[in-house]
Symmetry: C2
Subunit: 211 residues, 2 copies
DNA sequence: GAATCGCAAATGAATATACATTCATTATTA
DNA sequence: TAATAATGAATGTATATTCATTTGCGATTC
């Protein structure tokens, strides 16, 4: 569900770049506005204003308001997944992989606070109003964790009685909830890096194979 | 923000009961409808229909749509807190307390699926459209965890380098996220009781004082 | 015991508002 | 000049909230 224009007509390179520019500009504006107001309270005219385009222009690039949200999921998480997978593939040790995942997740939360808020909120809300949209991107992201755990079990680093399907959610949930509260009041007792560290440590000594 | 009627005139006992009945009836209907559609997509007339009252009747008991949501938080979480605190006070061992909290949380999720969905969703969304409403109930609930951890540290059962403020969120987040996914597809590989168990185990061996 | 009264509670049609979306018009570009 | 892109005012819709009216019920009178 992204750009409407490119459907039938191939574009010259310059044009494609220009169009993508405006598409991205709207996405970035929408992330800001959704983060500030939430999806439902955000008006198209807010997004248009933030993106410095006319209301109608948005409909040249997106089919409707939902479509903007879905595009945020697809495009932004998509990039994040590619990036973290690449980083993790450079590691050998499952323990370090998990620490890396946590650190990377929290870094993203810090660096892209608005995006994090949107993803967090709408992740919950979404199943209600876009029943048809299965959030495969998100599933893919969390599955990175279960694959690490599975690998660790094969290497006898992690306990075999841990269910990867539960552990992945527990780990992700721990990070996500800690991040959520951190966003709400960044004047906290702890830094987000500390939090990532603590959570990794607790979790790792929780699933470590005793020997 | 609850009942509007009782403001000036004291009521006979029977009447008070009748009114509370209808108030509750609307709350329960709203929980169902909000769970099904989400707060924003839920229409007042949906709630009225579910509660078998007229649209206008709802405004005799609540000031507006938000007020219904806030009342759900206040009243329903309120009861849950009282209940879990009582259960936990009957325990001595911090480890058992944590297990009890997890088991109880998951039992609630299972038994009151609709309520869980509403709390989970709107917890995230709420800060956007009810900025002024500080969700003290929720904070109180999660603080039960940090108090257990703190106590365990005093008794030398839990590691002292664990920050209770981080750990409480990590633990709650782990439960909450696992529950969320479980709700979405209850035909899962694991039961919710297993999940509670796993999470407790992982977390406990993660924060245990080595000796 | 029936008839009447008065008040609180409930009703639901009407109102008002907010906003997503459209599209006739204008600007830009090649 | 023709085609494409952008504009923003106008439209239509959806629905939260209101309020004039009706209903239900206990108390009071005869």
């Amino acid at each position: 569900m992204a750009t409407k224009t490119t459907e039938n007509t191939p574009l010259s390179p310059e044009k494609a770049i220009r169009i993508q520019d405006k598409h991205r500009k709207i996405i970035l504006a929408a992330i800001k506005v959704f983060a500030r107001k939430g999806f439902f309270s955000a008006r198209i005219s807010d997004i248009a204003q933030e993106a410095e385009v006319a209301d109608g222009t948005i409909y040249l690039y997106f089919n409707n308001k939902y479509d903007i949200l879905i595009s945020i999921f697809e495009e932004e998480i998509g990039k994040i997944i590619v990036d973290i997978k690449e980083r993790i593939n450079q590691e050998e040790d499952p323990k370090r992989m998990l620490r890396l995942f946590a650190a990377n997740h929290m870094r993203l939360v810090k660096e892209r606070k608005d995006l994090s808020e949107v993803l967090q909120m709408e992740l919950r809300q979404s199943n209600k109003f876009m029943r048809e949209y299965r959030n495969t991107r998100f599933i893919e992201y969390v599955d990175i964790i279960s694959r690490i755990i599975h690998k660790g079990q094969e290497l006898n680093v992690f306990r075999k009685d841990v269910l990867p399907g539960v552990a992945k959610r527990a780990f992700f949930g721990a990070l996500d909830e800690t991040a959520r509260l951190w966003i709400l009041s960044p004047t906290n007792q702890y830094t987000i890096e500390e939090a990532a560290n603590q959570i990794s440590s607790i979790f790792l000594s929780g699933i470590e194979q005793a020997n």
